[in-house]
Structure formats: structure tokens, C-alpha cells
Amino acid sequence: MSITGKRILIVEDTPSISLFLAANLKSEGANVTIAETTEQALVLYEDSLSSRFPFELLLVDLNLPDSDGTSVLKKVKTAKHQATCIAMSADSSETAKKKALKAGAVQFIEKPFDISALISTLKERLHERDIVNVHSSKHDIQAETWELQQSYTAHLRELSNKLNHTIPYNRLCSLLHQLRGSAALYGYSKLSGFASRCSEQLREIGPTATQNTRKLLKEKIDAVMASAVK
């Protein structure tokens, strides 16, 4: 299960933790928002319910400055569109766990956490959620496709920025390989073909062609993005 394009709300008042979580989830392609208080979280969650894409998963710290994080869990549990909630706390007592699960969390994660394990848990929980929602309507599929396309467009813009700087030969080879596959799947067939040709040339010429290929690729991505906007 991928979390690419999934809307996730992190409810956490410690910036070092929330930013660390956000950076890791964004690198997996998730669409992440941070709330520092229960009040902010409830406003953001309610706003999302009236949007096209409500939050699908909430990662909630139980010790927040304005009130107990379980108030967020309870609110989500009673909402029409129920997001999957995962509770986090440094208090690993059985009482804290039971309280979180009773309030609506599907899982309790003890702090400090291992980020790889946490991401695997999120993927599994979102996967279970997708199985439950298997009979999704055509509209949902279209909405998810649209969301993924937006995420991919943002990825291409980010890639173009990264290509302003020098890049190692092996990294560029790998990037071209990924681009030829993903661009084709997202309908950018010319970009995919260009990446394929660049990849062949780069392998033939070797590392000396790295920086020239990088510049050409950046120009191509920018041109593709510009024509997509038109």
C-alpha cells in the first residue's frame, strides 16, 4: 500500500516531532498538514469534511497543550467521514492505551517511535481502510486519480528545482529510470521517451555526460510543465 496522495493530519505540539514526521511522510508522497492544538485539529478536520478530499488518517498526540488528544479521536469517531486515527504518547501505560482505543484510535504508538515502523503501520492501516472501501464509486477513483496527478505534478516541479544543482551519475541514472516509467503512467509520454533516450545516452557516454544530461532534463521537465499549464 502506498501513501502517495493520502491526506494526513498530524496533531502534535512539539515542532521537532511534527516536522520530522511531516518530512518523512511527504517524502513518501503524502499530503500532510500539522495542527499544534486540539482546537486547531478540530477546525482543520471539520473544514476538510466539506472539501473534496477529507483527511484519511490522523496521527494524534495525546498530550496537547489545550486539552487531551482523545477529544479529537472522539470527534472523528462520530463524524460522517471517519478518518483512521492513530494515537501517540510517551505515556505507555495500559490506562493510556485503553483510553486512546476507547476514544476511537485504531492503534496506539509509544514515543519515541521508529520512523520506518511508524510509516509501515500507517501504510497497513490505510491498506485496511482501502479494503473496507473496496466498493468505491467511480467518482472516488476519479478523485484519487486527480489527487495522484496533482501530487505527481508537484513532484516534477520539485525535481526540476533539484536539477538546478549537481547530481551524482548513479543518482541521475536511477532518476531517469524512474521518470521513464512514472511519466508514461501519468500521461507524459514525451517526457518518458526523453528520459529513455537520455538514459541510453548517459550509459553510452558515461559519467562525463552527467551534468549536461541533468541540464537537458531540467529544460525538458520545465517545458512539459509549461505546456501542461497552457
Binding site: S136, S151, N170, Q178, S182, S199
Partner: protein, 157 residues
């Protein structure tokens, strides 16, 4: 009642897998995507779609061999833009059903057709005396022919 087939996509490109999973999700509700090549994760699926290139490392043959060891009757498909002789030999030996180019969108359709053929052959099988897909798949000669075409193309490059 027809069996629901579990499908695993192993690929480190999350944008690619996100869209591929969405295209396959309606057909395979029990679909999982992973970017990890750990052996423990590959147990328990019917259909495997494995990328050959993980961050520059050619893992396709190793993954296919591990899958075949753990799931002898499963369908194994490799996604790769190139097909070296050594890779081909290893894939043939572990009964990989096909190799498809990620950069060619038409090959996605061919991959879907191969998966459907596998599912049909699975549904036709009696519940007892199961024999492997590699022995029953009628298009295996077509598959080898396709591989040979790709190999010839690679040798010309």
C-alpha cells in the same frame, strides 16, 4: 465462489506504484504496495509485480527467485526497461511469466492480459491435484518469443 487474488507490487518509485495500484485496485481489492525488498514481506500473494531496478540496484531476478521459493504457484511479472542475458536466464529458470517495460504504456495492457489469463487458468483448475501455472499457461511459447524479440533488440543496441 471465485477466489479473490492477492497482488503485491514491489517498486521503490512511489508515484509509479500509487497510480498503478489505483488502476488495479478495483480488480484486486487485496492489493499491497511495498518499496521494501525484504524477503519476509513477499509471502502470501498470488500475483507479484516486481520492479527490476531499486535505486540503481538490479534486484528483479533475486526477488523473482525468492518469490518462486515461497509461492511456487504464483504469477511473477517483472517490470524492466532492459533485458540482459543473465537476467533472462534467471527469470526463465524461476518461471517468470513476463517482462514488461514501464516506459511503454501499451505494455501495461499486455501485462493486464497476462494477469487475466493467469486468473482464468486458476479458476479452471480443480481444487485438488494443482499443477503449476508455468505448466498450464498456454501462451508460454508466445512469452518466450516475446523475450527473444526483446533480447535481439538488446543485442543490437
Amino acid at each position: 465462489m471465485k477466489k479473490s487474488h492477492k497482488l503485491l507490487i514491489l517498486d521503490d518509485d512511489l508515484h509509479y506504484t500509487g497510480m498503478l495500484a489505483l488502476k488495479l485496485k478495483a480488480r484486486f481489492p487485496e492489493l499491497k504496495v511495498s518499496s521494501s525488498t525484504q524477503k519476509t514481506l513477499i509471502h502470501g500473494y498470488d500475483i507479484y509485480i516486481l520492479d527490476n531496478d531499486f535505486n540503481g540496484q538490479k534486484c528483479g531476478a533475486r526477488l523473482a527467485e525468492q518469490v518462486r521459493e515461497q509461492a511456487p504457484d504464483s504469477l511473477v511479472i517483472i517490470l524492466s526497461g532492459t533485458l540482459e542475458l543473465e537476467l533472462l536466464k534467471r527469470l526463465v529458470n524461476c518461471h517468470t511469466a513476463g517482462v514488461f517495460d514501464k516506459g511503454n504504456i501499451d505494455e501495461l495492457q499486455a501485462m493486464n492480459e497476462l494477469i487475466e489469463a493467469y486468473i482464468q487458468s486458476e479458476n479452471l483448475k480443480p481444487t485438488e491435484n494443482k499443477i503449476s501455472f508455468a505448466e498450464t499457461f498456454s501462451g508460454i511459447s508466445d512469452m518466450i518469443s516475446e523475450w527473444n524479440k526483446k533480447l535481439t533488440y538488446e543485442e543490437k543496441r
